[in-house]
Amino acid sequence: MTKLHKKQQLITFEQLPKTPTGITGLDEITGGGLPNGRPTLICGEAGCGKTLMSLEFIVRGATEFNEPGVFMAFEEKADELASNVASLGFDLIKLQDDKKLRLDHVHIDRSEIEETGEYDLEGLFIRLGFAIDSIGAKRVVLDTLENLFSGLSNQIILRAELRRLFTFLKEKGVTAIITGEKGDGSSLTRQGLEEYVSDCVILLDHRVVNQISTRRLRVVKYRGTQHGTNEYPFLIDEDGISVLPVTSLVLEKEVSSKRISSGIPSLDSMFGGKGFFQGSSILVSGTAGTGKTSIAACFANEVCNNKKKCLYFAFEESPKQILRNMKSINLDLQKHIDNGLLEFHASRPTLYGLEMHLVAIYKIIKRFKPAAVILDPITNLITVGSVSEVKSMLIRLIDFLQDEQITVMFTALSLNTVVSEQTDEGVSSLVDTWLLVRDIESNGERNRGLYIMKSRGMSHSNQVREFTITDKGLSLVDVYLGPDGVLTGSAREAQKLREKTGVALREFAISRKDKEILRRRMMLESKIASLQAEFESTEEELNKIYLEEELKQNIIERNRQEITDIRRGNADTLKSKSKSKK
């Protein structure tokens, strides 16, 4: 294992020397540029940018790497060429005067030339050699060498001379570009130039799909070095050619654990109270009218409130529209624009191809250096490309933004008919955080529910919240989880009211029962009192009877005694009896 690793390292050390082209992105694909001191073939159909790419190679060499170059044009005249590329800011005349560049127009016309026997192309060699030596050129372009074939008829001589030409160029030690028209069928060039140039072959392509053209570049072969093998889109704009590789072929990005607020406190609380990670990518998706733009604007507002810059790319609404609409939810974005913290860039997606959009976004970001970028909505880009193209574009954009530590928020429209939400331009797997806003329809009304589908690297709420947009701003409300299920909107309010009524009723009922008890008690107590009284009277009655009985008994006893006494006539007994009684 370690042995293998060492071996690999050795190979990278022995990499063949390369000449940087200075063309944005091309050096990244080729791992440093074109093979130094060797010829490279650039082929492609007419109008795919061969001449421009080769000319830019020469101009960049002269201006950026201090390597003078010779441009031998078989097609265009020197002054034509100069005026053609003047719009790209290439001043060929001045470069020629500075001896940094030599333009040589080779004119061949079959009608003017009579072939009378054996010949060779030594004249071309002498011209080229002289041009190279006169300015010490390191770079040579032959555009388009194949024109020789239309001017001269002896193929055998031409092919032999071409082979000699490439040897000559290698001997001169110049890095050369030879351009060639694409041939029929599978051949790269019409005259089979690829058999002479074997070190590096770059194929350019210009395709129109759905009325939108995209230029593409592919390194067909590059001997002795690693290179990107994909087709890379490139475009030609006022700064020349930009090739757009997936900015980082390796996933070795710096990450930040700093958090930034979403601008909605209740949303932050769903992310453990802190918000998103800085430099992360956030996708807000939802059906139409669920408030995606409002969330995005809220985020932009928050970023600007923290004195950081924010870029807003609008693909649907004009900046003025957004400003006006956001005012209705208490977001004043105008002041941020005035402070230079917020910039809007609105364009119709169909304005140009995806790659053009990407480059436009690149350039603006490079210039503005924002802390956050918003794309609203990415769904509209579908109109100019297929899902896979949009995805590849967004991958590259996310890569680029993460490299720059810029937080990005996409909004995406998901259609009601789409059952699974996993297909939002296929970016849902790329983004770090995915918020889903959806309609919850019940009881004849529509409410917004927001939940977090995913959020990498942080604890987050798994609850569906009701998302409300009011003239105070945005906020999230806990949805009502009642016995009847999840309730939102007026149903939630109704349920709350119902509960309130219930409480009042209950309280009333309780108090009524209390009174009842009290009354019952009082009743019983009074009853008890009356019973008591009754009992007392009965007792009294009984006692009275008892006393009367006793009295009667006593009286009877006495009477009988007296009667007995009287009957006996015993006065003594009567006397003693009366004495003992005393």
Partner: protein, 105 residues
């Protein structure tokens, strides 16, 4: 045949051929071209011609001015329009045609 062919020359005594032959040193093609051309000139043009032989190695700048690619190259400056002939001049018919001497092959 020769009579007809030489007709243009006979008609215009005043026609003066100014020819420039570009060669490269003493390469086989160049040597052959010089020899072949001299024979042709002596045979068909004498004495109304002027032949200048230029070694492009000595004057590389001229290669650009004269749009030289293939060598050896013969340029007919006059009479008539400028014509370019490349090769070792071994095909006499083609040389004469190129010079405008031979009108029909």
């Amino acid at each position: 045949m020769t009579e007809q062919n030489q007709l243009p020359l006979d008609q215009g005594e005043s026609q003066f051929f100014r020819l420039r032959l570009f060669v490269i040193g003493a390469s086989p093609n160049s040597v052959r071209a010089i020899a072949n051309l001299k024979i042709i000139c002596e045979q068909y043009l004498k004495p109304n011609y002027e032949l200048e032989i230029i070694d492009v190695y000595q004057q590389p700048l001229i290669a650009k001015e004269e749009q030289i690619i293939a060598l050896p190259l013969l340029i007919k400056k006059s009479p008539g329009v400028e014509r370019k002939l490349i090769g070792d001049m071994s095909n006499t018919d083609k040389v004469l045609k190129g010079l405008g001497i031979l009108t029909e092959s």
